[in-house]
C-alpha cells in the first residue's frame, strides 16, 4: 500500500528543515522529511565555523548549532523523518519512490512536494586541469567532512584552487590543524568569497591569495607532488613564462557548486540555464504544480540564513497549496535580469499569491562601484538602491512591497545596474 502525505520535503539541510517546520506550523498535518544522510542537518554539520544565524537570530552560531535549533523544533513539532533514504524517482503527479535499508523500496504519494536537495561541488573533471591523477586531490567540502567529522587529516602542504567560501574556510581550518597552506589560487580578478572570510581566513594567517592565476598542471605519480601555478590574462588564458612550481601533497578544489537537480529533471521540471536550478515563482513553486523548491537547489546562496528565509516561504506555500489557497488565475509578471545582472530569483510573480512583501535575490556579473541597483516595473522605477560596492560573490536582496505591484497592468519587472543618477 502506498503511504500518503500532505507535504514531502526532500533533503534535510537548512532548506528542508525550515520548509518542513513551516509547512507543519501552517496547519498541514502529515509532513514527511527525507534525507540520504545518516543524520539531519545536511552540510551544516561539517561547517563547524561560526557566522551562521547573524541575520536570523542576531547571534553568531556554528553550522551544527544552527542546525540543532531547527532539529529541536522539528522534534518538538513531531514531524516524521526518514534518514538513510535515497529518493530515486519523482513524478509530476507527486509520486515519490525512495529506498532505504529498513523499508526497502517504497513509494509515497504527496499532495505537495518541496525540493531541498542542495548542491554539490564541481570536481577536477569539470575543469580539465592537465596532469597526472595522483591521490591528494579533494573538493574542499569533502576535505571539510573528512577533517571535521571523520577525523582524517587530508595533507600537510596544501594548495587551494578557487577562492569560494568553502576554500577560504578550509585554508584556515587546515592551518589550525597544523598544515601549511601555500597558496589560494583564483582565476578571476576578484574572490567569489565573502570579504569577512578573506580577512579572517587568509589575512589572519598570512596565506597568499593569487588573483588572475590558475593551476596549469598537476604532478605526482601516486601522491600529489606539486602543481604549476600560472598567471592568466584578461581572457583567462595562461600567460607564457608566468608559471611557477609549488611543492605540495594536497590540492583542494573550491571551484563552484552545482545545484543537484537530477530529481527535478526526472520530474520534467523546467530549469534556468544560469542558476542551474528550477524556474520558480513568488511562492517558490516550480513549473510542476504543487512542487516547490528552495535553498541551494534553486540557486547557490552565500548564507544559510537566506536559505532558511527562502525555505520558509516554500514551506508556507506548500501548506497553502494543500489547503487550496494558492490562486492560479492571476496574470504573471516576468522578472528579467537586466544590464549587469546575472540572474534574479524568483523568475516570475503571480501578484494574487503575494504576501505583504517579496524579496528578489540577485547576483551581479562583475564588480561595480558607486552605482545604483534599480528595479523597474515596465517603465516605472519601483526601487533605487545606492550601492557603494556590488560584487558577484555576495547576493543582493531587494525587498518589494506587494502593494506596489497589486492592481497594475504591468507585465515585466527588470533588475539592472545603473550609474549613479542615470
Amino acid at each position: 500500500m502506498q503511504a500518503e502525505y500532505d507535504v514531502v520535503v526532500i533533503g534535510a539541510g537548512p532548506a528542508g528543515l525550515a520548509a518542513a517546520i513551516e509547512a507543519k506550523k501552517n496547519g498541514v498535518e502529515r509532513v514527511l522529511l527525507v534525507d540520504r544522510d545518516r543524520e539531519l542537518g545536511g552540510i551544516l554539520q561539517q561547517c563547524i565555523h561560526n557566522g551562521f544565524g547573524l541575520h536570523l537570530f542576531k547571534e553568531e552560531l556554528t553550522g551544527p548549532e544552527y542546525a540543532e535549533k531547527f532539529i529541536d523544533e522539528l522534534n518538538d513539532l513531531k514531524i516524521e523523518y526518514k534518514l538513510d533514504t535515497m529518493v530515486i524517482d519523482l513524478t509530476k503527479e507527486k509520486v515519490i519512490t525512495m529506498i532505504n535499508p529498513k523499508d526497502g523500496l517504497i513509494t509515497v504519494k504527496a499532495k505537495a512536494i518541496v525540493l531541498a536537495m542542495g548542491c554539490r561541488e564541481r570536481t577536477r573533471g569539470a575543469l580539465n586541469i592537465p596532469g597526472t591523477r595522483p591521490s591528494g586531490l579533494f573538493t574542499a567540502g569533502t576535505a571539510q567532512r573528512f577533517v571535521n567529522m571523520e577525523g582524517y587529516m587530508v595533507g600537510k602542504r596544501v594548495v587551494i584552487l578557487g577562492s569560494g567560501d568553502i576554500g577560504l574556510i578550509m585554508a584556515r581550518r587546515m592551518t589550525l590543524e597544523g598544515a601549511k597552506v601555500l597558496a589560494v589560487v583564483e582565476l578571476l580578478p576578484y574572490s567569489s568569497g565573502l570579504t569577512r572570510n578573506i580577512v579572517q581566513c587568509l589575512d589572519d594567517y598570512d596565506i597568499p591569495l593569487y588573483l588572475n592565476h590558475t593551476i596549469a598542471q598537476i604532478q605526482g605519480k601516486h601522491r600529489l607532488e606539486g602543481v604549476y601555478i600560472t598567471k592568466v590574462d584578461d581572457d583567462r588564458r595562461p600567460v607564457e613564462g608566468a608559471e611557477f612550481y609549488v611543492e605540495c601533497d594536497t590540492l583542494l578544489l573550491s571551484v563552484g557548486l552545482i545545484p543537484e537537480n537530477e530529481l527535478s529533471k526526472v520530474a520534467g521540471i523546467k530549469l534556468d540555464i544560469t542558476t542551474n536550478g528550477p524556474i520558480v515563482n513568488e511562492s517558490m513553486e516550480t513549473s510542476a504544480e504543487g512542487i516547490f523548491a528552495c535553498g541551494n537547489v534553486v540557486h547557490v546562496h552565500d548564507l544559510a540564513d537566506y536559505v532558511t528565509i527562502e525555505a520558509r516561504r516554500a514551506g508556507r506555500s506548500a501548506a497553502k497549496y494543500v489547503k487550496e489557497m494558492l490562486n492560479y488565475n492571476g496574470k504573471n509578471i516576468i522578472v528579467k535580469a537586466g544590464r549587469g545582472i546575472r540572474y534574479v530569483v524568483p523568475h516570475f510573480i503571480n501578484v494574487d499569491n503575494l504576501e505583504d512583501s517579496l524579496e528578489l535575490y540577485t547576483r551581479v556579473d562583475n564588480v561595480y562601484k558607486q552605482t545604483n541597483l534599480i528595479v523597474t516595473l515596465d517603465d516605472e522605477i519601483l526601487v533605487r538602491i545606492n550601492k557603494k560596492r556590488l560584487v558577484p560573490g555576495e547576493i543582493e536582496h531587494i525587498k518589494l512591497n506587494a502593494g506596489k505591484l497589486k492592481g497594475k497592468e504591468a507585465s515585466r519587472i527588470m533588475v539592472e545596474v545603473r550609474k549613479e543618477g542615470a
Binding site: 545518516r38 543524520e39 554539520q45 563547524i48 565555523h49 561560526n50 553568531e60 556554528t62 553550522g63 551544527p64 548549532e65 542546525a67 540543532e68 534518514l83 538513510d84 535499508p101 577533517v147 571535521n148 567529522m149 571523520e150 577525523g151 589550525l176 590543524e177 565573502l194 570579504t195 569577512r196 578573506i198 580577512v199 579572517q200 589575512d203 589572519d204 557603494k388 560596492r389 555576495e394
Partner: protein
Amino acid sequence: MDNRKMICIVCPLGCQIEVVKDKNTRDFTVTGNQCKKGKDYGIKEMTNPTRILTTTVKLRSSYLRRLPVRTDIPISKALILDCMREINRIEVCAPVKAGTVLVRNIFNTGVNVIASRSISRLSRTDRA
C-alpha cells in the same frame, strides 16, 4: 606596527581602512572608514584583535570521530595556536549536549571551550 591597512569586516561594504598610531600621543587615527563602527574595528584590530575559535576534539562512542567545539566568546588572536594545542589534547565520550563546557577558563582568559553540537551515543555501524 604603527600603521596598518586592512579591510573592515563589520558590514558587507568592506571599507579599505588605514589605521595610524600617533607616536607621541599613542592615539589612533582611522581613515577610509564610512562609519563609526569601522573606526572601532580598526582600533580593536590594532590593540587586541579577537576571534571566536572553532575546531574539533576527539570523540568516542559515536558514529562520528570528531565533535565540533568553539570558544564561548572571542579570544585574543595571539592565543589561538596555543588554544589549538590545548584543545587537541581533549577526548570526549558521547553522549554530549551542545553548550557543555569542555575547558573552563582557558589560559586564564575567562574564555570557555564548549561543545558546539549535541551527539548521541551510537556505534559507527548504528544509524542515527
